[in-house]
Amino acid sequence: MEILVCVKRVPDPAENEITVEGGDIGRDDLVYAVNEWDNYAVEEALQIVEREGGSVTVVTVGGAEADETLRREMAMGAEKGLLLSDPAFEGADGLGVARVLAAAVRKGAYDLVLTGAMADDGAAQVGGMLAALLDWPFASLVNRIEGTGPLRIGREIEGGAQEVSDIDLPCVLSIQTGINEPRYVGIRGIRKVASAEIPVLDAAALGADPGAPKVRRLAYFVPEAGPGAELLEGGTRDVAARLAGILKAKGGIK
């Protein structure tokens, strides 16, 4: 099975704490990582290929800095990498990114396209848009993949239940965390693929136009703090006693 996995480079803030300053997130001291969900998607693709044969290609839309993102996923075992890079892609919205990816999918011969269920912006949109652009079937929040086509898949839905369906190939699936245990990639793994050739395709090569963005992020902001909780302060024993009193008053102690 030929599998394409779409990945994204995202901020990896210190202690996972994002700060907001001057309309943007704090970018001093910021380092970047592969979107966590994407690691699960790549791992799943690798496991499918280990089972069924074929190969895994990882693709991302971004600048030269995204090369590292691709190499990290290639170090996991993805055979090929593909960097879609063009000044025209900068500032693209979700749909624009999906259009660029769709062009890359059409250039290959993939049976299956995987994305992470969501990324840093929580939009969870590119996978579904990509499927619609390709007119392929789609399933989001996939936490189980079996079979060879049609695939038997599970989606994580409300209440912790799993919606099981059969889906025809080719299709696009967005992968939920917990579907597998992604393998570790260290410095050594990345060095091993350091010299691997990663083709860079621009708008002309792809024949892709992200189009004018319909959706724009204007600014990050810090919401005005609501009233918030009444904070109990003082010595541990004292706080515990007061809290026990409050719990009792509210019917929390039976």
Binding site: D12, A14, E15, N16, D29, V31, A33, M76, G77, E181, P182, R183, Y184, V185, G186, I187, R188, G189, R191, K192
Partner: protein
Amino acid sequence: MTLPFSPATATLGSLPLWPLFALIPLAGLACFAWIIRRRLEPLLRAAPDPRRDRVGVRLLLVLKIWLAQWRHPRYLLAGVLHIVLFLGFLVLGARSLQMVFLGIWPGFALPGLGAGYAAVKDVAATLTLAAVLVLAVRRAAFMPERYRVPPGLGKDHTPEALAILGLIATLLLSEGLFEGSLLAAGTERGIPLTLPWAFAGLLGGTAAGTLAGIHTAAYAVHDVAFFAFLCILPLGKHFHVITSLFNVFFMRVETGNVKPVRHGVPDAQLDEVKSFGVKTLEDFTWKHILDFYSCADCGRCSDRCPANAVGRPLSPRFISIKGRDHAFERFPLLGGATAPAPLIGGIYSEAEIWSCTTCGACEEECPLGIEYIDKIVDLRRGLVDDGLVPQGVQKPLSALEKRGNPWGKLERKRGEWAAQAGVPVKSAEKGETAPLLYFADSMTSYDDRSQRIAQATARILHRAGEDFAILGKEERDSGHDVRRFGEEMLFQSLRDQNVEAIGASGAGAIVVSDPHALNALRHDYPGVPEVRHISELIAEGIGRGALKPSPAKDQRTYTLHDPCYLGRHNGVYDAPRQAMDGIPGLKRVEMEGNCRDRSFCCGGGGLMLFMEHEEKERMGARRVEMARAAGADVIVTACPYCLTNIEDAIKVAGLEGKMEAIDLCELVDAHLDN
């Protein structure tokens, strides 16, 4: 002396027996040689391991660990019995050699071993038989818990042990009968209470012809039993009888260090090594396979193993036993070797390999010098190479790669603890230099609770008049546990950054408060200035009067928990005790049986903090129990991880207010208020 009869001249009917007595040794030796050749096969295919350095030290180890059986009395009864057996073997080995020749050479004697030796060997044989009997009864009726084979790890080893004891008894008795029948033909009766004396007494008055027959029969039994014994030894745990001498000679001469990924490959060329670590048997070094052969199955390693004690799926004894059985299976005595098979998922499990805290208790205990830490680290290197790293550890590793600490905290916050130290702390990040560098490491730099150790350390150094500096944001995690988790390349990257920063700091000496940093800088960092633990500086400071602690502030009882990487791996046992005893009136007790080189690991540091283990209880909880049993109210540690693990254990046990954990630096600092 002329003998009344000899097996060399004996006949069966009209046939002389000497050709048979020549044939038995030849066949036995041929068989033995074949077996040993097969046993050497995996060693020849294994990874290199240069162990011919420091011959003097190695010979001393042979004298101490092997010949003097130094570690045996740590388990008193078993140890003493083994020493009797071992010495018996040494004495009787010569006799057995002599016996082989007596079948073809009447009256043969080894040069230099005359009548005196004959007397000694009779006493030795008798004592050895007594030891064998005690061992057999103990094995069969009063077997210590540590010999049991847990479910799923194969059959009980008792039949094997009893069979070998039976064979040894056969050798001793047949030799005694051989000698006794000879004595019975004469007038001497030998040394009273020895085996020949007993047999001679029993056979007194028997006809000479019958005695000659008994003599020859006893000889034949001994001859066959001896070569059977020789050929059976390499088939199981008694292989140690042969290998122990070599195993001890080639044993680890240093503690605290970790073997390189591949001996003979410098760090700069590691990228050319295709596969890291141990994945199949052949990836082990030859010494590590020799370790497997040498395991006597005594169970002491597992008896002292903290992971085993709290029910984690690790028993070091079975790392060896399973390795040995696997080697035997892969390289059978007859037929060719089978293809290399993955060890993980085969004989070992991932959980087993991640269970080890590398505390070193097993290696400290092994009477034969078997190594475990290097094997565990090598197996982890193999797992890391295949991407099989527990999910909980992947994030910290990635944070270490990106920000030099396992929590992904900001680099520039590393030195922030210094602002609350209450004394001036120079920092390399501000361009300040000092002759002494305080390398704090990640836990002490970032962890809220552990920062108090750093602050106390700074105050003590200040009080002792030391001119010191920290690296601040130039410091990275020492990588100590990164390396021991098998992530060698990340370790090297951290090490290289630190070595450069240490070099740039211009310091001529280094002090640490975290024993993991001590161990890393001492053993894993080439070419950095001398590193010492703060406890050593405190003990010295008190000794020369630079630090004068005030009298103890309370009447509580204190005990020292020896951190593994301070004590066992670096031999610093006395300095923290001297430091505590330097506080006038401080009441200190020992956790007898569980202190110094028998200290019980708190649960491990570094990345172990991020691991989830399958276990029945926490190591820290065990440790708190031990301290309580010793009558201590306060557990003094000298390591931020020990402190954290033990403090947590006290909370979970609900002993808050009754017991307390405190770092040595905090204790001393609190008594420098005068």
